[in-house]
């Protein structure tokens, strides 16, 4: 089933960490296996924020293995070395969990080379790399993950999130949402639905050099959009073409440094409720999530089939 949610404040910054936590916690019944947040902070014009993992957190159905934590230290040192080799500089480093890290780094804008070097280290995956995006995902409900990663006081303008009910792949971090739009700064995607042309489309994208880190069909949307961004296609146009290029039933949210977008397939088989005002846009799989932020009476509606919408922060 899965639950997705997103919000964007127009022209102001608030505690979106707490807001997204409230929304995702109220969608827990749609997906109790893992929770993910893509939060867009107030922005750092000089440095990049890098979130990565060097190991997995695993539950049922996953082919990944729980490893001895001692290997994480050596991998982390190798990542540090690769960052330096790529010509970047580590400004700050923080260990959030035994396997997840948050770094502030200084580098030029060739993120692909940097990303490739970092991910050349065994079991290492970049969760996000951007000037405002911070992507966090792990096993557990919204409160568990928010507490674990200290998201309760995260200020920013917008964010998207996901509660996952594992169906087509196992319970682990690599299959959890959101997915980063590798290797582009500040692009993230969450999805509710099933893509039926996943393998065919994945093979096409792999042939042109795009990277996949999981077997989760939702990752395809992030990679697909990243391909379009590489071709310098506008986000909204890319989302529109996705409705024809992706088969299946789906509703997805995408966020960039200053935008939030939603797309719904032609069958409209996956839910999405939208509240829109002059200063705030909130979307969720169920209205109950929107009510966790706005308990007073408001007007909401379901966007129709084949709808693509993009909002500016």
């Amino acid at each position: 089933m899965c639950g997705i949610a997103g919000l964007i404040h127009r022209g102001k910054s608030t505690n979106i960490g707490r807001e997204m936590q409230n929304m995702l916690q109220s969608l827990k019944h749609r997906g109790p296996d893992s929770t993910g947040y893509a939060l867009y902070g107030d922005g750092n014009t000089d440095n990049y924020i890098l979130r990565f993992k060097v190991g997995e957190n695993v539950k049922e159905g996953s082919s990944a293995k729980i490893e001895d934590p001692s290997v994480y230290d050596s991998r982390k040192e190798k990542v540090n070395s690769e960052i330096l080799t790529a010509g970047a500089k580590i400004i700050e480093e923080e260990r959030i969990t035994p396997y997840c890290f948050r770094y502030v780094i200084k580098c030029d804008d060739d993120l692909l080379e940097l990303a490739q070097k970092i991910e050349s280290v065994e079991m290492t995956e970049i969760l996000s790399l951007g000037k405002s995006l911070e992507l966090v995902k792990d096993i557990g409900d919204a409160s568990v993950v928010a507490d674990q990663y200290s998201l309760n006081n995260f200020n920013g303008t917008h964010g998207i999130g996901h509660t996952r009910m594992a169906t087509e792949s196992g319970v682990d971090i690599r299959s959890a949402h959101p997915f980063w739009g590798y290797p582009f700064s500040d692009v993230s995607v969450v999805h509710n639905g099933q893509l039926t042309n996943y393998w065919n489309t994945r093979r096409k994208l792999e042939k042109i050099g795009m990277r996949f880190m999981s077997n989760c069909d939702s990752e395809l949307i992030a990679v697909y959009l990243a391909t379009k961004i590489r071709e310098e296609i506008d986000l909204e146009d890319a989302m529109k073409t996705s409705l024809d290029d992706l088969d299946g039933v789906f509703t997805y949210l995408v966020a960039t440094k200053d935008k939030l977008g939603m797309a719904k397939d032609y069958m409209a088989a996956k839910p999405m409720v939208l509240y829109e005002s002059d200063d705030l846009v909130v979307l969720a799989s169920e209205e109950v999530a929107i009510r966790s932020l706005l308990p007073h009476e408001i007007d909401t509606h379901d966007p129709y089939e084949g709808v693509v919408k993009v909002w500016q922060a």
Partner: protein, 280 residues
């Protein structure tokens, strides 16, 4: 009527079995009268009123409270602070005046038989699914699968609704004051849908029977849905029905579009004569 061999599927060797056909209509038999009454039906007084604050209650607790209040003879129940919670007000098989002050989540007011329900906010997916009788009025918008598989009653949304409204409906009337999404009336088998606004693609797809009236634009018709001529009888019925629905929108009923089944998709040829008469 087209012969069996006229269908392409039959030329391909599909669906060539002889069907006996079987009506879904249940005829009343006084010897089976016990089957037509519910165990949990109560004598209630519409003037006896109670309120339930839903905010801190689970849906199961709310539905149980409604039942308990009906047992005590309360005929008017107000749900306060519903907070878009799911499955509120389901399974009411009784005369009741239920007022919802706010919005409902998914599967609200499902499987009801008899109550009059007024909702001041919005409803989520599958509102009033399997409704048998009664009247439900929603002041704002509704999600997808609005009135899925209803058998009877009047289901009214003054705003717009999502996709697949009236899917699999087998009777009753759905009235939509605004627009409707894709696949409205999908596999509808009986009853009527009235949409005063525009409607999305594949209207009446695989429509078996029933009638859909549209006041605005139709994006596209689904398989086997065809346009039929509006009659004076239709106009008269629409006028009366809209009045009952409390929708104060000026409508030129004669200019509405009427959609019915083309009856080319299903095995109408194989129905028994009496059923064929009913179907046609």
């Amino acid at each position: 009527m087209a012969s069996v061999k006229d269908h392409k599927s039959h030329e391909m060797g599909l669906h060539d079995e002889t069907l006996t056909g079987r009506t879904q209509q249940v005829f009343f038999n006084s010897e089976e009268s016990a089957n037509f009454f519910y165990d949990d039906s109560y004598e209630v007084d519409i003037n006896k009123r109670a309120e339930i604050d839903v905010e801190k209650l689970l849906c199961l607790e709310v539905n149980k409270k409604i039942k308990d209040l009906m047992k005590q003879g309360y005929g008017t129940i107000v749900l306060k602070n519903p907070g878009a919670k799911h499955s509120l007000g389901v399974g009411i098989l009784n005369k009741l005046n239920l007022i919802v002050e706010g919005s409902l989540g998914y599967f609200g007011i499902g499987s009801i038989d008899g109550p009059v329900v007024r909702i001041s906010g919005r409803v989520g997916w599958s509102c009033a699914e399997n409704m048998m009788a009664g009247k439900v009025v929603i002041e704002k918008n509704a999600g997808s699968c609005f009135g899925a598989a209803i058998r009877g009653g009047d289901l009214i949304c003054k705003g717009s609704v999502g996709a697949r409204s009236g899917i699999d409906m087998k009777g009753g009337t759905i009235i939509i004051g605004g627009n409707a999404g894709a696949f409205t009336g999908f596999m509808m088998q009986r009853g009527r849908i009235i949409i005063l606004g525009d409607v999305g693609p594949n209207l009446g797809d695989s429509l078996y029977d029933g009638t859909i009236f549209v006041g605005g634009k139709i994006t596209s018709l689904g398989a086997d849905a065809v346009q039929a001529e509006m009659t004076d009888l239709d106009v008269g019925w629409l006028k009366r029905k809209l009045k009952v629905a409390e929708i104060e929108k000026k409508v030129d009923f004669s200019k509405m579009t009427k959609i019915v089944s083309g009856k080319k998709l299903w095995n109408y040829d194989n129905l028994e004569p009496s059923e064929r008469k009913g179907a046609i």
